[in-house]
Subunit: 426 residues, 2 copies
């Protein structure tokens, strides 16, 4: 089944808005084993919209159109859809009532121009939008089934998941029992993980489990899509592959599905009623910024201390500044002092010695991390190269991941693909 | 002149990568008075590429193609361009030599598959890429001039600016003396600024100065594009409009052109050899994270103190915790104590009282900000509503902007469009 996507709107075409809606649509389709063959972006312009609808209607079996369902004069999707399908627009009384209810529940009167949102092509099938006034709809144009969706991201996402993907799966004849399983890791590059996982798809010989990746440095998402007769069948197929992935990626898996690294760290600390102090140098608040504002962190996050200067860091936690370069031992002393100074049960110290000179691709930093509790200390040393921003991102992720490993009783040190080999690493 | 853009690549089509290259191309063209009429995304697939080239070649005067110039087998742009233009591919000796030099300068031998990057359609005009091995080129397909660009963002950006935009301007017959002037503001919404600036374009009656906006909450970018005979003419046209914008937006302008808010704050502090301490509650490192990692901040940023708890904040700066809710007076006392405690010349305190309960659109926070120096204290109170993330983003920007205003001897308090009216605001 050939699927195309048409994105509409002057703000997207002019680049004022980066088109994240398209990436979302395409990824969600990939997740259920469908794929987009062609994407077109046009502005709020009758002639372009009509031509785009006609061309896609000649080529595709299904077309998702995003945007242009709003109440203003430049929202043209319904009107041009009717024209392309060769039918009239008519007021849909049911949707009008729904919109009036929508405004009434919010103690507001519906503005007259919203009435336009209930004008639909006469042959359209209404697609519900439970969280907005833009009415989704489906209609045939040329040889394709067109699905019209709102531009507001949260409305699009819900409509896509609940209404459109089931219709596309039914139309494609694919088995509709589908599950997406995701693993998040830090420290291994995409090609490395791809090699480590060679052959896992073949554990289910009928080809119904597919492996995919999405890299967003420093994290990598490993995705499994499984299809089957029903959800029991899907779960049965996924189980051995999931188990194998957990075995092969081991300690590098930091979270699964909707979990996040910072969420896992917060949950581990909350579970043991622990409190945390964080000390940062070059990252200067960027480790704390991932963690300390989360709901529930107000009970766990005790204190953060930031400085670009080691002497200042030590002064802030009541420690005499050690002479010489930053070492693992310094980081351990700082973490222990921070814990005592703040009364937290856990302390994380992230000390960074940046290279000298201007930013460049060979620019690097030496990172000494330590975690201290009342009876235990762990630390690691690492060198990351690739420019200031790369060092910063890598250090933040490594610090949070080391804390996750420590809390899960895993080795804090394991070689990653993102660091330079360095004699003193362990 | 009708311009189209074709983006190529499975990673973009599948949504694995969000297509920021397209937004960049389109915005850069808008900045010089050109605009994109139609965008197409296709995968690394011969048939789709050929069809996309043919269709754009029938409709457009100029087409920018992005991606597919790499050394691997799925990079098909040169091959399909030759096919669409009805010419052969041939080795471009000049580019081959350039690539070999490129590798030699980096003390590496060119891998054999890079040779493919020097295979160009025989009628192609080479477009230089001074920072990569992908060779840009221009060729006629149908009635359009096609410009092929690399997918690597920094290579695309440079080639677009230095090579392709001048060619497009020449082709369009637009006057080629063009300047873009940008103003960054915080606190006023796009429609408010649009109303405040009504009529400024008309200060240059020939229509050669255009006004535009780009909103990225909490900041707004106001853009002026001016065209003229030569740069002197352009500057003469821009001057009165610039002056009028500065007058009307006044203290809300926080930076111009490539300056950033945090950069302006850093420059002001550096200029007076000042040092800064930052104290944060709910934002927990997010104010410091914008500022303290910048080159040069190591001399200015003295210390950051973070906590979600007011008692803990006070303890960290050697202050007895005041009873009752957070007030401007509390923030002032914390800022003064932080300055004394750390020995910094300036201190910024960002204290936030968050609403209770789950995140929702009505969720808000009361923000008390204070800035202290040895002889002076300034503060403001504000209430921001719109969910946890909105409060967080708003508070970070407001804190940095208040510090900017203080350093520039401007009033720290001025009513913004993003806060709830609140009796105790001043």
């Amino acid at each position: 089944m050939r699927i195309e996507v048409i994105c509409t709107g002057d703000e997207v075409l002019s680049g004022k808005i980066v088109n994240t809606n398209f990436a979302h649509i395409s990824q969600k389709l990939e997740d259920v084993g469908l794929s987009v063959a062609w994407e077109t972006t046009v502005g709020d312009d009758r002639e372009s919209l009509l031509r785009a609808f006609q061309l896609a209607g000649e080529r595709a079996d299904a077309v998702i159109v995003n945007g242009g369902l709003g109440p203003t004069v430049d929202d043209l999707s319904q009107e041009v859809a009717a024209q392309a399908a060769g039918v009239e627009l008519a007021l849909n009384e049911e949707w009008l009532t729904k919109m009036e209810d929508f405004f009434r529940r919010r103690s507001r009167t519906m503005p007259p121009n919203n009435r336009k949102q209930a004008m639909l092509p006469t042959t359209a099938e209404v697609i519900d939008n439970p969280i907005g006034t833009a009415c989704g709809f489906a209609i045939d144009i040329g040889r394709a089934r067109f699905f019209f969706t709102p531009g507001v991201p949260r409305e699009l996402k819900r409509m896509l998941e609940e209404q459109i993907i089931p219709r596309l799966l039914a139309k494609s004849g694919l088995q509709t029992a589908i599950q997406l399983k995701r693993f998040h890791s830090y420290g291994l590059g995409e090609s490395h993980v791809d090699a480590l996982l060679a052959g896992v798809e073949a554990l289910v010989p009928d080809g119904s489990v597919k492996l995919g990746f999405r890299a967003h440095y420093p994290q990598l998402e490993t995705k499994l899509t499984a299809r089957g007769r029903d959800m029991d069948d899907v779960r049965k197929k996924l189980a051995p592959v999931e188990q194998e992935i957990r075995k092969r990626l081991g300690n590098f898996i930091l979270a699964e599905d909707d979990q996040t690294l910072e969420g896992v760290v917060l949950a581990e600390l909350t579970r043991r009623q622990a409190t945390l102090a964080i000390v940062e140098m070059f990252t200067s608040g960027q480790v704390a910024a991932r963690f300390a504002h989360l709901p529930g962190a107000e009970k766990v996050f005790r204190r953060g201390v930031l400085s670009r200067d080691l002497g200042e860091v030590c002064a802030a936690v009541g420690l005499d500044a050690p002479a010489g370069e930053i070492t693992r031992e310094t980081a351990e002393a700082v973490a222990r002092a921070a814990r005592q100074h703040t009364g937290a049960t856990h302390a994380l110290a992230v000390l960074i010695d940046l290279d000298e000179g201007a930013d460049r691709i060979e620019f690097g930093g030496t990172i000494c991390l330590a975690i201290a509790t009342v009876g235990d200390t762990a630390s690691r040393r690492s060198r990351i190269v690739g420019g200031r921003e790369w060092v910063r991102l890598g250090a933040v992720e490594m610090a949070l991941d080391c804390l996750r490993r420590f809390l899960q009783s895993l080795p804090v040190w394991e070689r990653t693909d993102f660091e330079k080999v360095d004699g003193g690493a362990r």
